[in-house]
């Protein structure tokens, strides 16, 4: 069997987030194909529950990508998004799951280099940590 590919899910806002993905593509950037993007209107829409459920369903890592905090389309949306991500991270540490599996990123539509960076950070985490083991098997 081929080597297992990492599974990374990203919640990406439809404003600067997706524009940043597009610009990276149109600037010829190549990156790992392990990322699956779910679009949300704003990262403020993301709920801790979505992230936790994605991990439960089998994602190795989850990230949220929104606008720069001072340039958010919905003004305070990406600040809200970060709060949710931070909350999930603290919950994960409490139950003994590596908090690095979940991350918040901000970008503007003109930052072509940013998305490939995010992808490599998150796929590295996913490769390093592998799948989350079922609870019973944890020490």
């Amino acid at each position: 069997m081929a080597e297992r590919e990492p599974k990374v899910v990203g919640y990406c806002c439809e404003k600067h987030g997706i524009e940043c993905v597009n610009l990276a593509a149109r600037s010829g950037k190549q990156y790992d194909a392990s990322i699956r993007l779910v679009r949300v209107p704003c990262t403020g829409r993301v709920d801790g529950m979505h992230i936790l459920r994605a991990l439960e369903d089998g994602a190795d890592a989850v990230f949220v990508l929104g606008c720069l905090e001072k340039n958010c389309y919905y003004d305070t949306g990406s600040i809200e998004g970060r709060k949710r991500v931070d909350y999930v991270k603290s919950m994960l540490s409490q139950v003994g799951i590596e908090p690095e599996r979940v991350e918040m990123f901000n970008a503007s539509s003109s930052m072509a280099w940013k998305f490939p960076e995010i992808v490599s950070t998150m796929t590295d985490v996913a490769k390093r940590l592998g799948p989350i083991e079922p609870r019973g098997d944890r020490q």
Binding site: R36, A54, G58, Y74
Partner: protein, 525 residues
């Protein structure tokens, strides 16, 4: 509801042919649940193809469409129009999938994984599509075509001109009683007290003299400008430094000192300055040039810590230097000051050359413009956030450089931060044109993919009321949260934060997002 999906892949632009196996994508789509038709076309933006797609939609009796074009912004609006009008499909049941930007371009070196990703993307999109609900937008008429402009400075007057030209009715409110030459109604000695409503139908309360009145309008332009009163600072006390606009006036009137002119960034050089942007540098350089042209015997010095002229105005550095304008950079630890022995000279240490200069002057002027203290009350009335330095803050750059975070409210000129006259005028023109564009439709559209509260679940905790940046949620008569649809922008922030899970965002529900995610994770990676 039928929930039958039509999948349309545009072969040409999706660039798929080089990297992806389009026939296989079609097979995958056809085998997926809810798919009623999956076709690949050449040029989905071509009129003939559009007709073909619509025909197919009708004969297969689909009620929703997933289109895979070159990019979302490049899909011909004609396709959506035809789909809506001829195939009678709800506009919220048409979505695009960006295979090019997300897969074809970034993974062209790895076709095998690109194909796996494309298939899983397609299946996730189909899963999402099947869950979408048809939504209706509502609309109301704008009650007026009024555009209210706050402040009759350079930017405000220009905004009035532009909006009037476009057929709007402008009302310019100005706090002073200065003479104003502008089209439309001008109300002197008037200030804004409070504002209600939303873009298209605002109700303002204004105070004209002693009298309070209400004023309806469709859009608001803030052009409150900077603080033009004289600043304080050691250079004002010691050298009688004046604001730059006075120099501009004096040049206009032909009063130019022969003893030399010194333009300094701020009257208080030791103080912290936020950034180089905070000065009207273009005006400073232009004034220096004018002086040298009109009165070549007058020496002109520009003393600065950082200087930034925008865009083509950068060329004026050279023009100024060619005319003999002296640029002197100083360090705020060794600020320019009046010569203690001879008050008619300014002493400054050139931080580049290390030289100490003693400059005789006939007049000293400063290029900084303090923020307008009225910004506080304007920001409270219209609910626009302020910047750290006391200006009114614009919204995300994606909304344009003169949009505030609040729809229907624009900000131009030095109300944001100091602007040179020319840029104020340009921004005023833009604000007038944009306000006119907004108002000219005469209709406010709202609803669609917006938030909705389930009253039974709401515990009236006010979290949504506090969180929404647009102030759409409120506690209604029934003691439960309600959303004022005209204000809701559909961001979903309130949905994610409601502790009782009482709010849903149409077509971005928890269930829809989690099912889409699960579809991805269950697929190949």
């Amino acid at each position: 509801m039928k929930r039958r999906i039509q999948v349309v892949i545009c072969r040409v632009c999706s660039g798929a042919a080089n990297v992806l196996d389009v026939e296989k994508l079609l097979r995958v789509a056809n085998e997926a649940p809810y798919v009623g038709s999956a076709i690949a076309v050449n040029y989905a933006c071509n009129a003939k193809t559009i007709a073909q797609i619509v025909e197919e939609a009708k004969s297969r009796e689909v009620d929703r469409m997933l289109i895979i074009p070159c990019s979302k912004s490049d899909v011909s609006p004609a396709l959506f129009q035809a789909y809506k009008k001829k195939a009678k499909i709800n506009e919220f049941l048409m979505e695009t999938v960006d295979l090019v930007g997300e897969i074809v371009l970034p993974h062209r070196d790895n076709p095998a994984r690109a194909q796996a990703k494309a298939e899983s993307k397609l299946l996730a999109a189909i899963t999402r599509m099947a869950m979408l609900e048809p939504l209706q937008k509502s609309s109301e008429k704008m009650r007026t075509k009024n555009v209210v402009i706050i402040g009759a400075g350079v930017a405000g007057v220009e905004a009035a001109r532009q909006a009037t030209q476009a057929g709007m009715h402008t009302i310019l409110i100005e706090k002073s009683d200065k003479e104003v030459k502008a089209p439309g109604v001008v109300m002197p000695k008037t200030r804004l007290v409070s504002a209600k409503g939303h873009a298209g139908n605002f109700i303002l309360t204004i105070e004209a003299g002693e009298k309070r009145e209400t004023l309806e309008c469709a859009a608001v332009v803030i052009a409150s400008g900077g603080d033009w009163s004289d600043a304080k600072g050691p250079l004002v006390q010691a050298c009688g430094a004046k604001p730059l606009y006075r120099l501009v006036q004096e040049i206009g009137e032909g009063i130019i000192s022969r003893e030399g002119v010194v333009i300094v960034d701020t009257p208080d050089p030791k103080a912290d300055i936020t950034s180089a942007q905070d000065f009207a540098w273009e005006d400073a350089i232009q004034s220096a040039i004018e002086i040298r042209k009109k009165s070549p015997e007058t020496e002109v010095y520009l003393l600065f810590q950082e200087m930034r002229a925008l865009g083509l105005d950068e060329l004026s550095y050279r023009d100024a230097a060619d005319l003999g304008v002296r640029f002197v950079r100083y360090d705020k630890k060794r600020p320019p000051h009046a010569d203690p022995k001879d008050k008619s000279k300014i002493v400054v240490i050139d931080s580049v050359q290390g030289q100490t200069l003693s400059i005789p002057y006939g007049g000293v002027y400063y290029a900084s413009i303090a923020p307008n203290p009225d910004n506080v009350s304007i920001s409270e009335a219209l609910r626009i956030p302020m910047t750290e330095s006391g200006g009114l803050r614009r919204g995300s750059m994606q909304k344009g450089p003169i949009a505030t975070p609040r729809p229907g409210v624009l900000v131009c000129g030095s109300a944001q931060f100091p602007r040179s006259e020319n840029i104020s005028r340009l921004e005023g023109r833009a604000a007038g044109a944009l306000a006119a564009q907004l108002v000219s439709t005469g209709i406010v559209e709202f609803g669609g993919s917006v938030a909705e509260v389930t009253p039974d679940k709401c515990s009236a905790c006010l979290t949504c009321v506090r969180t929404c940046p647009f102030e759409a949620p409120f506690i209604g008569n029934a003691g439960k949260a309600e959303i004022q649809l005209q204000l809701c922008q559909g961001c979903g922030m309130c949905v994610g934060i409601c502790p009782s899970k009482a709010i849903e965002l149409h077509n971005y529900t928890d269930d829809q997002l989690s099912t889409e995610t699960a579809s991805y994770i269950g697929g190949d990676f």
